[in-house]
Symmetry: C2
Subunit: 248 residues, 2 copies
């Protein structure tokens, strides 16, 4: 995840899947929200076993980013073991729409998918550490059981977001596309005691995508959204329109 190894979201994810197999947890030693696919190049990375994470669960904390965690899990911790599935999260806060590109939680899942490991990122639409994960755990158990049994079809990476609602108000799962919403009003300007300006990142998600077939629409309407994601960023459709560039 990107909220760190102590996050309740990660503990709830482990609880939801603990009986399905051998679980190995690798997570940042503290929060790395908004760290995206960042990797640690300019300093060394420390990896330490956490002995008391949860009974029957092997756990490690890492001084690096969420993507570093996956790379270390694959190359160092599990190098001689087969990885069936990589799960990331449960992220404290939505990772739907454009948030997917900033999220460390989704980047960790993407990193696994880049290496050919099927991966799922889970997020709940509540930033609080006191969020209620009961309904989310139920959906995680359903989705992960299904995937372990049936695979992920043609997909390599799933982005699952769960509304912050009690189980009885959740309407089910919708497969959909990423909403084309963006952040606006992103900075709050302040003045420090030495009379210099500084900026805090903040903002609102502008719901410019009015479609009824996207993650934001379904989440607003009480559904769990699942968007399959890619890491090949090629805009195949745009290639023909750029043909003149080859003759420059």
């Amino acid at each position: 995840n990107d909220d760190g190894i102590t996050a309740p979201g990660m503990r709830n994810l482990v609880l939801a899947v603990k009986e399905m197999g051998e679980i190995v947890v690798v997570a940042p030693d503290s929060a790395r929200s908004g760290h995206s696919n960042a990797i640690t190049l300019e300093k060394p990375i420390i990896l330490e076993e956490v002995k008391d994470y949860m009974e029957g669960v092997e756990a490690y904390k890492c001084s690096g980013t969420p993507v570093d965690c996956i790379k270390l899990a694959k190359s160092i911790i599990l190098k001689d073991r087969k990885i069936d599935l990589c799960l990331s999260g449960v992220n404290h806060g939505a990772n739907n729409t454009i948030n997917v590109v900033y999220s460390g939680t989704m980047a960790a899942a993407m990193e696994a998918s880049i290496s050919g490991i099927p991966a799922i990122g889970f997020s709940i639409l509540n930033f609080g550490w006191d969020a209620n994960f009961d309904a989310t755990r139920t959906y995680i158990t359903k989705i992960v059981s299904h995937v372990l049994k049936n695979g992920m079809g043609d997909a390599h990476l799933l982005n699952v977001n769960v509304p912050d609602l009690p189980a009885e108000e959740l309407k089910g799962i919708k497969l959909c596309r990423q909403a084309k919403n963006i952040w606006v009003n992103e900075f709050e300007e302040r003045i420090n005691p030495h009379n210099k300006k500084y900026y805090w990142m903040t903002g609102e998600l502008s719901q410019v995508d009015k479609g009824t077939d996207n993650c934001q629409y379904y989440l607003n309407n009480g559904y769990v959204s699942i968007v399959p994601c890619i890491f090949d960023l090629t805009d195949y459709q745009a290639i023909p329109s750029l043909a003149q560039l080859e003759s420059l």
Copy 2:
């Protein structure tokens, strides 16, 4: 860029386009390589004008990430001015194939494209600060002139990589897809003076994609590669294969 405001790559980018319009430079105050689309949420961001960057060029340095730079440029520095084009780089080192997801330079360009600003990221296949940018500058001038005059077709974001070759050995430009290559042997394990392990990220790019239509192939063969890129990560093709998930 993600190499910081003092990088020769950025200076060469500015030199290549300086006569084409009003240039505003916003870059991290030091290197942020591998920072991807990371944003700064947990601490405030400092933005300072750099008075002596280059004659006739307005320049700012920022304590945040490459993506923070673009967000601040758009919301604070240029909020009342129209932005015609966002250029990022020239990155010191390749951003082709899977590197695109880790690159702060490409993330900066992607951030502009997310807000509807056409954007181009440039990289040279040489990590050294003493790289020779002469041929790269020539291609930047050609590509940017063309785009300012003709637009970018159906594309919103271009990833341009230039081989580290003298101008006379460069064979031209190829439009292509992102190669499906991945990093292997990614860590070097060391022991600190207190007898504890630590890890440096390193690695080799495994050229598993044997296609003759991808960025790696063309770069290996002396061409400048241009890959148009997206930020909608939806794997549209995989959606039908996942239909069963909606009935869980």
